[in-house]
Amino acid sequence: MRFFDASCRLGRPAAFGEGMPWQTDEILEIMARCHIDGALAYHIVAREGETQDGNELLLREIAQIPQLQPQWCALPATYDEFLHADALRDAMKENGVRTLRIAPKSFAHSARPYAMKELMGFAAECRVPVFFDYGEAPCDELYEICHDYPDVSFVITNTAYALNRWLGPVLDACGNLYLGTGNYVPHRGLETFCKYYAADRLVFNTNLPTGSATAAVSLVCFADISKEEKELIAHGNIERLLGEVRL
């Protein structure tokens, strides 16, 4: 079975655990070891430094690496700080970028429509999936963001194991929410999820380099679900979402 990682991170971190693979060739080595054919990657500078610079750094970093596809971080174009919708579309099209990552808490802006309408309107119109870590819109905020933008497909990453009571009602109410599987580790969580919501809403990801690719792959491989469901999760769902993008 082949895997496509829907979300990993490149770039030099400020701090890292001893032995943690953060350099691009180390990440590629783990991907190969774990049978991960390709990955969507964003850049740490775009997430934690300066967004547009980081997005540029990403393109340079992966220019000669076909397995890695770019994911840009994005924020509202307040005071023209970021690209407005038309310019963003052109830039994404030119550079083969098909997904965006937002971080409203970390980037200090509201996720409500009065603040993010333009960016999310673009994502909805062009069918661009939008990723964010659960911590960026936790609890009821997750419902709000999915409900405010029903035509945007959201993929949440970094969910851990204790969220089901918050997650379940949002999954019930909002069909546009997808779950990144990296670190979604309730006991038999994937099996339960497939039972209540179907494998279509799960997207394999690793959260490399802070997350474990070996763990993420094993979680899917050992899950008590059908081969078809595993294939959907491992690569099918993200390939479908990416195929629907219209820039």
Binding site: G17, G19, P21, S212, T214, C221
Partner: protein, 257 residues
């Protein structure tokens, strides 16, 4: 077949002895914790090829520990060869452990987690009765040893009670320096692999510092999944011999299974 191949073939580990030294039974009020009974544990064990697990009742640690111990004993009674039971102990209460270890033999060790029982340190006065008992009878004790201060306290306890056998849950990932020091000072200490999320390379790191003989497979199942932690071992850069030690041979010897 190499051990790592089991992952990609979704194949249970039939020819390797696997012991999970750190699991839980019982539900939770704090978050959803499904399939937490003994039968569900054995179902997961069979799917992955885990031979033996060592369980404590996690909700019992946070509330009525005696009720929790009964839940755990019931899981053991349902699968006596597959699930071993730790008895959770509570430093706020005086308790004669003969009730668990002499009047019957439902338990094989102790689980110590005093920080959730009134934010008490591992080496607090109320816990000494239990450590002394474990030392007298050569029992294993599983610590929640997450913070560096907890590992230091646990090391002091391990040195004071050399006949008891201590597993320092989590510490090889969360308090590495202190865990390494503990392994240097004490022969009666084993580390485990229990942590829900850690980077690839962290296992290799602790093994390189303390040796593959001092780390045992542990997962916190049913608090969360265990297959991903199994995968972290199987797909790590350790040799198959080292993996086999971590997966079960260390625990077999240490816990006298």
């Amino acid at each position: 077949m190499e051990l790592k191949d089991h992952v990609f073939l979704s194949k249970e580990l039939k020819d390797t002895f696997v012991v999970d030294v750190h699991i839980h039974v019982g539900g939770s009020t704090r978050y959803q914790k499904p399939r937490n009974d003994g039968d569900s544990v054995v179902y997961t064990m069979d799917r992955l090829g885990i031979d033996v697990t060592c369980a404590s009742c996690s909700p019992g640690a946070y509330c009525d520990w005696m009720w929790g111990n009964e839940v755990c004993a019931e899981a053991h009674a349902g699968h006596p060869d597959r699930i071993k039971a730790y008895a959770v102990v509570n430093p706020n209460y005086e308790f004669d452990l003969d009730e668990y270890f002499v009047r019957d033999d439902r338990f094989f060790g102790l689980k110590a987690i005093p920080f959730v029982q009134g934010n008490l340190p591992i080496d607090c006065a109320g816990m000494q009765q239990y450590y002394a008992y474990a030392d007298k009878h050569g029992l294993p004790v599983l610590f929640h040893a997450w913070q560096p201060s907890e590992v230091r306290d646990a090391t002091a306890v391990a040195r004071r009670y050399p006949n008891a056998r201590f597993i320092f849950g989590h510490s090889g990932f969360t308090a590495v320096e202190e865990a390494v020091e503990a392994c240097k000072l004490c022969d009666n200490v084993l580390l485990d692999t229990t942590i829900s999320d850690i980077y690839d390379g962290a296992l290799e790191r602790i093994v390189s510092k303390v040796g593959a003989d001092r780390v045992a497979y542990g997962t916190d199942l049913t608090a969360f999944e265990c297959s991903h932690i199994l995968g972290r071992v199987l797909l790590s850069r350790l040799t198959d011999t080292e993996k086999e030690k971590v997966l079960g041979l260390n625990a077999k010897e240490f816990l006298k299974l």
